[in-house]
């Protein structure tokens, strides 16, 4: 049975109200910011964003912030623990009558893939295990972006970064596979998890709206097309974000209490359509075409979706 949105069926249903305002110091065409803007339309302004070191740390730069919500910058490795402290303190102050209940806030961790997949993993694991009531919003641009695009565990096989360049020893650039953070989270049995893409705004809004009904840890992995790091014209951010989904590389899915449902069935266009748009994969096509590397990427995508189909048939 195909996944159907219940609340957001038409684009005009997306709230027009903005909570992320223009004029940030992020890069032009930042796909992560696009996701955050859409997410905030459902999250609203009664939010405290607990930020980990990364690109988004530049959002709140004294004395400016583009948000109409609260903000706490923590460290790279412990934003979920910061969320724990804020959530616990809000609960305690409300219980003791020192803060009116209507002053309560949603606690949202805002971290990049470097923090999410790597340094904050212990802190995240602890927060999920303690069933902390919070949102985890990861803008995944598949590299340590703010430091100039180095290899992260979210970097996909075949991509070139400044610490995994195309070289004689490793012509594919990155030799590792992208870490499956979704499954690492799922092993912790959180009540709600989803992947989102800003090119599928109804899907994104629907997921944030549904998640609100689930107290406890809620993961959102947002595809963050990165013109600066992936080397494409900022004007192409929408195309890159759309093709990541349509080529099957960024599956849109949701897991309610661990049960995974794919929320969109992609056309499964050839991965070249996606790769060719980006400078980080240019070495796969020039000066010679690395057919084995491209075939490997395509093979991984095919295997993933075959697995999905098999699982759906069994179910």
């Amino acid at each position: 049975m195909a996944w159907e949105p219940h609340i957001f069926k038409e684009l005009h249903q997306i709230p027009r109200e903005e909570h992320v305002f223009p004029g940030t110091s992020l890069c032009a065409g930042c796909g992560g910011l696009e996701s955050l803007r859409l997410a905030s339309k459902v999250l609203g302004s009664h939010v405290v964003y607990v930020n980990a070191a990364g690109c988004f740390t530049n959002l709140a730069a004294f004395p400016f912030t583009p948000l109409d919500a609260s903000w706490l910058y923590t460290t790279m490795g412990s934003a979920p623990a910061g969320a724990q402290g804020v959530r616990d303190a809000l609960d305690v102050l409300i219980a003791k009558g020192r803060l009116p209940k209507e002053e309560d806030l949603k606690v949202v961790v805002l971290g990049g893939d470097g923090s999410t997949y790597d340094m904050a993993l212990s802190s995240t694991s602890g927060a999920i295990t303690r069933k902390l009531d919070f949102y985890y919003f990861c803008y995944d641009n598949e590299a340590y972006g703010n430091t100039g695009v180095q290899l992260s565990p979210a970097t996909p096989y075949g991509a070139c970064t400044s610490t995994s360049p195309c070289a004689a020893q490793h012509p594919s650039g990155t030799t590792q596979e992208k870490k499956d953070i979704f499954e690492i989270w799922r092993a912790h049995k959180p009540p709600y998890m989803a992947t989102v893409s800003p090119r599928f705004p109804l899907d994104l809004e629907e997921k944030f709206a549904r998640a609100a009904a689930y107290p406890g840890p809620k993961l959102f992995l947002a595809f963050a097309a990165c013109p600066t790091g992936w080397l494409f014209d900022p004007a192409h951010t929408p195309d890159v974000a759309r093709l990541a989904v349509e080529c099957g590389l960024w599956p849109l899915k949701e897991a309610l209490n661990g049960a995974v449902v794919h929320t969109y069935r992609p056309k499964l266009q050839p991965v070249e359509d996606y790769l060719k748009l980006q400078g980080r994969f240019r070495h796969l096509f020039e000066p010679t075409v690395q057919t084995d590397v491209i075939a490997h990427i395509q093979g991984r995508v095919n295997a993933y979706w075959e697995q999905v189909e098999k699982a759906e048939k069994t179910a």
Partner: protein, 411 residues
């Protein structure tokens, strides 16, 4: 008032309980664990109306502590040694948030080699973080200092976190008589925590810990922390007066012991200062005019109080229970710096390193300190750093080395 026998750790837990804290994020580490165990029990049975949460590391623990304080809760936490260092970047981060929480550090020497017993390289490593530091000598002082720490930290002129230090094993696991302050008295001394500059709420969004671009902005905020820390000297004085009025016990930033007519002064901190005072008594009985200055507040550095206590002395010995490899004793450097502009500065300043990793400091070693310091004063030239190490300790160490060699080579 009757005294209860309790360990330094239990006294620390009582300090948090009497301060009526709201939140205790925790992580176990020897020799601190007993503190969070006691608080866990009290939070569990409702004796203390606070939330107790075990985090995944000290790094997370300190982050949660700072974040909860930034939200407006009164927060207590505790750690030791490796745990303090694991949380190191967070110490600086939350001090910059200007959150007034109290952290108890139970001193323990740092790896490597890994060990459990105390010295002060852990707590002194954090001296530049922005945390204030109070170092306690007795179990009584632990509980009293925690109450004073909250009052100082929460004062609008300060708004900085405070670290209260006590020595692992020697104080953490040693029972001493402790008179617990009456809860009504504590209420009079420590008003409820209702910060106006902190707190996240729906009606008033605000951003904390934002990035700054440009050194001028950074310098401004960093210097504000320095000024706030310096304010703590006066705020401590006020707190000490009020605490004495209510409880009858007086704590100053430094404590002089038999200083009045002392020619030579030994400077110490923490629990080993009790040994030092004993050694002063012995030396006095032999007719030597010696005294002891215990540094209780390390941050802010009470330069004036130290200078006043040391001016006109013949010689001063600083006994550091820490070692900065390639430099020597950490407190020695700071004492020397604050004496530079003193016209009547002592003729000699001596540096001794002792008690590393919990090594005992024997009567003989104290005797040697006083003798060598007196000689240096007569000579008008300081010595050090001198490592305190006895002949029998050296022999035992040689035996261990022989054994290690034999095991390795099979000979």
């Amino acid at each position: 008032m009757t005294a209860d026998m309790m360990t330094g750790n239990f006294a620390a837990a009582w300090g948090a309980r009497l301060a009526d804290v709201d939140y205790v994020p925790a992580f176990p580490i020897t020799p601190q664990t007993e503190i969070v165990e006691a608080l866990s029990a009290w939070c569990g049975n409702g004796t203390l109306n606070a939330r107790f949460v075990t985090l995944d590391s000290e790094h997370s623990m300190m982050t949660a502590a700072g974040a909860a304080a930034a939200t407006g809760a009164r927060v207590f936490t505790a750690t030791s040694s490796q745990g303090l260092l694991h949380a190191f970047e967070v110490l600086y981060t939350i001090a910059g948030w200007r959150v007034p929480l109290v952290l108890v550090n139970v001193s323990r020497a740092l790896a490597s080699p890994i060990t459990l017993e105390p010295d002060h390289n852990d707590v002194l490593a954090a001296r530049d973080s922005g945390f204030l530091q109070i170092h306690a000598e007795t179990c009584q002082e632990v509980v009293d200092s925690i109450l004073m720490a909250y009052r100082i930290a929460e004062d609008p002129r300060v708004c900085l976190p405070v670290m209260v230090n006590l020595d692992g094993f020697y104080l953490s696991f040693t029972r001493e008589p402790v008179v617990l302050p009456d809860p009504a008295m504590v209420q009079a001394f420590l008003p409820p925590f209702r910060p106006t500059h902190l707190g996240f709420k729906a009606s008033a969004p605000h951003a904390l810990g934002t990035a700054v671009f440009g050194g001028a902005t950074y310098s401004y905020f960093r210097h504000q922390m320095h000024l706030a820390s310096m304010n703590a000297l006066r705020v401590h004085e006020e707190a000490a007066v009020e605490f004495e009025r209510l409880c009858g016990r007086r704590y100053d930033v430094v404590e002089g012991y038999r200083l009045d007519d002392a020619e030579d002064v030994l400077i110490m901190t923490n629990a080993f200062a009790s040994k030092g005072k004993g050694a002063v008594d012995v030396a006095r009985a032999e007719g030597k005019r010696v005294g002891l200055l215990r540094l209780r507040m390390i941050r802010p550095w009470p330069a004036d109080a130290i200078r006043q206590a040391l001016q006109g002395r013949r010689a001063v010995a600083v006994l550091d229970q820490n070692l900065s490899p390639g430099q020597g004793g950490i407190l020695f450097q700071e004492v020397a710096a604050c004496l530079y502009h003193e016209a009547l500065r002592p003729r000699a300043l001596c540096s001794f390193i002792g008690g590393l990793g919990g090594k005992n400091i024997s009567e003989g070693e104290f005797r040697a300190i006083f003798e060598q310091t007196a000689e240096a004063g007569i000579r008008g030239q300081g010595i050090g750093p001198v490592l305190l190490y006895t002949e029998s300790e050296h022999r035992e160490m040689e035996q261990l080395q022989y054994l290690a060699h034999d095991l390795k080579t099979g000979k």
